[in-house]
């Protein structure tokens, strides 16, 4: 059960992806962005204080900057790129656009992933549950108002779609 530092496989967005020539200390964020061509996850603090790099790993939303990539070989990883199979958008993504939840957009992928994870586990969260769930995702542009609105809209859309 050892991941050689030279070559190891990660399970990302349902695909087996080989990582080559990596240094053992590389974070999952770095590997996703620089080695696997998945730059959707963003880095803004490198210490788990901004949430821009949030991915789903084994069913949990985590900061990929704090995951040592080489230790994630048995984990199922979903990044923002893996939320949909094609160019379609999820209800959360769509609501971010229609409600004005996007400005510069740098925090957006991490927020989208965190909110998808929230709604998958709690389809009808209270306002406070929403706020707590994204309290680890810093947005510097919006002041969060349009983001809360986007979550409300996404909840409604998801409910209607699931009926």
């Amino acid at each position: 059960m050892s991941a050689n530092s030279e070559v190891y496989d990660l399970n990302v967005n349902g695909q087996k992806r080989q990582v080559r020539d990596a240094w053992v200390g590389e974070s999952l964020l770095y590997v996703l962005r620089e080695r696997l061509g998945l730059p959707g996850s963003k880095g803004a603090c490198e210490q788990g204080e901004c949430g821009s790099c949030t991915v789903i790993m084994d069913g949990q939303a985590v900061c990929s900057c704090l995951v040592m990539a080489a230790t994630a070989i048995d984990s199922k990883i979903t990044t923002v790129e893996g939320l949909t199979q094609d160019d379609s958008l999820t209800a959360v993504q769509d609501a971010f656009i229609t409600e004005g939840g996007v400005q510069c957009g740098f925090c957006t992928p991490g927020l989208i992933v965190a909110i998808e994870h929230l709604l998958d586990n709690n389809p009808d969260p209270s306002q406070l549950e929403v706020k707590e769930a994204i309290s680890g995702n810093i947005c510097r542009c919006t002041g969060y108002g349009r983001i809360f609105e986007a979550v409300n809209t996404a909840v409604t859309t998801r409910r209607a779609t699931n009926l």
Partner: protein, 756 residues
């Protein structure tokens, strides 16, 4: 949460909540930020920075670093072929320090290598011998004639007085105090990054940069590289927020130099800590201010002494200072003033532009004074502000007459009319109470407070600077292509520009061409200016195209072009029955027009601070409701009510986003955001210790947009970016004072300021 009006306008014209064209790419992670850029065979660049706030460089030894495998180039000051310094206003900042370092983080050398890790090892291997000097980190000390001159240009960036009216007037009521503000960081999330690709032969460079002002970057880079302007071609790299911090050069010159030196593409990007060192911050300021008023509360005279700590290099300190001194009266009538402002050089990190640009500091002082004045006169915070509210036609302390729409009274009254939040419930959820899940406080520990802030903010650049904007509009087969160098930092010009084209030309399909230096300057995305300036340029270009289209249709259908108008998506004869769709009318023709929008000229201030130095003004009122755990000094902002003078709402959702976002930044400055300095060194250059508001710190925002179209503005709309973050800070401070009875003359307000 807010009163965002969702319009039912069926086309994405002006006034509709049109959706961002970059939205889909941004929500799916496909939008390319400058940090996402790659080029084949590229190398990584990295910067060596000074660990000392003030030191003499004795020697730099690169030999060990050169021996590291993978290192391709190392450059220092002697490798700068052109001008050795750069700067927005005065060119006093070295590309690399050569003899003296003047702040912690000043660049000394840069390396290019095959991997970021190789870069790190190379930087560690460069040996710089410093003779450490005693840093001068106090602005008052730096101003004294006997103090060491930190830089050949001296320690004073600018001194500006404003002397007007009766210099001896003494009011029946006099209130005075000294206010202080700490150093705030813009803390955009998308870190500095650039990609430079050298032309073969080294005659030029193609750059992709996250910046606020492409042409200013181009000018400064070209000068340092000693290349003609056209050899530096810059395309905007995706920008993850800016807020002023990308107006100055950071890594641009280093990146271009390394690309030319190695003949390979160079990617540079900062980490968070380096970003704190690598860009300018909001000026810390100390403001003494004395108000003279009648017993009934009418302001008669202001005296003030304002000191802005500009840090080690000039950046925009001189302009920030001018904004500070010229806005110290606030949005209030005042005929007599005695103001002295100083922007000072120290060995602290350089300060420059940040949203609000000098007015944030002034507003915190004048609004704190208004509350003191209200108490002294037995008036409420609202009454004192209404009594003194400025109107159009009033003369400022600079002698300039306010020609802008000035609905100050309406801003205050409409804010006052917004419903107050419900009181904190006895059984409130922990997350609704100060401290949140930390279970710090219970409802009975909380005291609620209410406070006010009102502000005036200039729009566009001042003091004779012609910050024009250029746009090109092309129409063919019903499709419009727009071209401009206007930087999108998140504010939404990419959604506004097509709205303008649709409104003017009756088209639906609008394509924005790449944003680069292959067209004239658009000026900076700052100073709340792009809707007015670049919006004016796009509007002007579209109008020229429309005129040509009418001429074409007129000739073809034998109608006087002056009779033609655009109605929805048709060209219509307003005096007859003729109607043709714009698509049909433009089929087979190609119309191409470029327009430069210039605002009206302004003047420099004279030695007494007199002159028409500003273009126009916008106003806003904020009322803050806060919950304070008085015993522990902890604060949660519950609600911000605001009415903002926007001229005209061009995109309701985008406008609301600017307002809510600005409020969050002003909240940060009020209660948590500060770069803590210790003898010139930053103690908290990380997001663990430089705290930004989270979703649980965000207050309810109720915003009213006051629409009184501005006659001067091309679209009737005023800039809306800066006002939201200006008076919200003093409003929150006032609310905390209201809850605690404390004086609180400094922001950010720290727990110990409240309870010890």
């Amino acid at each position: 949460m807010s009163n965002a009006t969702k319009t039912s306008i069926h086309r994405d014209v002006l006034g509709a909540s049109a959706l961002r064209p970059d939205g889909a790419a941004k929500v799916s992670g496909k939008f390319e930020f400058s940090s996402d850029l790659h080029a084949e065979h590229m190398l990584w660049g990295a910067t060596l920075r000074s660990p000392h706030p003030f030191a003499r460089i004795i020697s730099i030894d690169l030999s060990a670093a050169y021996k590291i495998d993978g290192v391709e180039a190392i450059i220092t000051a002697q490798d700068v072929p052109g001008k050795k310094t750069y700067g927005l206003i005065s060119s006093d900042q070295p590309v690399f320090a050569s003899e003296i370092v003047r702040y912690v983080g000043e660049p000394v050398a840069a390396v290019a290598a095959d991997h970021p890790e190789t870069c790190r090892r190379a930087l560690a291997a460069i040996k710089v011998n410093y003779e450490v000097l005693t840093p001068i980190t106090d602005a008052e000390l730096a101003m004294l004639p006997s103090t060491t001159q930190i830089h050949p240009d001296g320690n004073l960036f600018r001194h500006q007085r404003i002397i007007t009216g009766d210099q001896n007037l003494q009011g029946e009521i006099i209130v005075e105090a000294t206010y202080e503000m700490g150093m705030q960081d813009q803390a955009f999330l998308g870190l500095e990054a650039a990609l430079a690709i050298p032309d073969s032969g080294g005659a030029g460079v193609e750059m992709f940069v996250a910046t606020q002002w492409l042409h200013e970057d181009q000018k400064q880079i070209a000068a340092c590289l000693d290349l003609p302007l056209e050899k530096i071609r810059i395309t905007l790299g995706g920008v993850g927020g800016a807020f002023g911090a990308r107006e100055d050069i950071s890594l641009q010159v280093h990146c271009a130099l390394l690309a030319l030196r190695t003949s390979r593409p160079i990617k540079m990007q900062y980490g968070r800590e380096e970003s704190f060192y690598g860009h300018v911050h909001r000026h810390p300021a100390k403001i003494w201010i004395r108000h003279h008023a009648t017993r009934t509360g009418v302001i008669q005279r202001i005296e003030s002494r304002m000191v802005f700590d500009g840090g080690a290099y000039a950046s925009t300190s001189a302009a920030v200072l001018i904004n500070g001194v010229t806005h110290i009266q606030g949005p209030y009538k005042c005929l007599n003033a005695t103001v002295d402002g100083y922007a000072v050089r120290t060995n602290n990190p350089p300060c420059g532009a940040m949203r609000g640009f000098g007015v944030v500091q002034a507003c915190y002082a004048h609004e704190s004074q208004m509350d003191k004045l209200a108490v002294a006169c037995g008036l409420s915070p609202v009454e004192i502000r209404l009594i003194n509210a400025m109107v159009t036609g009033d003369k400022l302390i600079t002698g300039q007459v306010v020609e802008s729409v000035a609905p100050v009274e309406r801003c205050i009254r409409e804010t006052d009319a917004i419903e107050m939040p419900a009181p904190l419930a006895r059984n409130a959820n922990a997350l609704e109470i100060v401290g949140g899940s930390g279970l710090t406080s219970l409802p009975h520990n909380i005291v609620r407070g209410v406070g006010w802030g009102v502000s005036i903010k200039n729009l566009m650049y001042s003091e004779s600077f012609d910050d024009f904007a250029t746009a090109r509009c092309q129409l063919q087969n019903g499709v419009v292509n727009l071209k401009f160098a206007t930087v999108e930092v998140g504010q939404g010009f990419v959604v506004l520009a097509p709205q303008i084209a649709r409104s003017v030309l009756g088209v639906d399909e609008v394509i924005i061409d790449p944003v680069d230096t292959r067209i004239g300057s658009a000026g900076s995305t700052s100073a709340s200016r792009q809707t007015w300036m670049s919006g004016g340029a796009v509007d002007g270009a579209c109008r020229l195209v429309r005129q040509r289209l009418f001429e074409h249709v007129g000739t073809k259908h034998n109608i006087d072009p002056l009779r033609l108008v655009i109605e929805d998506t048709d060209v219509v004869d307003m005096l007859g029955d003729f109607r043709i769709s714009v698509i049909e009318a433009s089929t087979g023709v190609f119309i191409d027009e470029t327009f430069e929008h210039h605002h009206r000229p302004t003047e420099e201030l004279d030695e007494n601070g007199q002159g028409n130095c500003h273009v126009a003004f916008a106003f806003v009122a904020h009322r803050a409701v806060v919950d304070v755990d008085v015993e522990l000094g902890l604060v949660k902002v519950i609600q911000i009510a605001t009415a903002q003078d926007v001229g005209r709402v061009l995109n309701p959702i985008a406008a609301l986003g600017q307002i809510e976002g600005g409020i969050a930044q002003g909240l940060g400055l009020a209660v948590m955001e500060e770069i803590v300095l210790d003898n010139g060194k930053m103690r908290n250059p990380s997001f663990t210790d430089y705290l930004l508001p989270t979703a649980l710190d965000a207050p309810q925002v109720i915003a009213v947009m006051i629409e009184e179209p501005e006659p001067q503005a091309p679209l009737g709309a005023k800039g809306i970016g800066e006002p939201p973050c200006i008076s919200v800070t003093p409003a929150i401070a006032a609310a905390i004072r209201n809850a605690t009875g404390r004086d609180l003359p400094r922001v950010p307000i720290r727990p110990q300021d409240i309870c010890l």
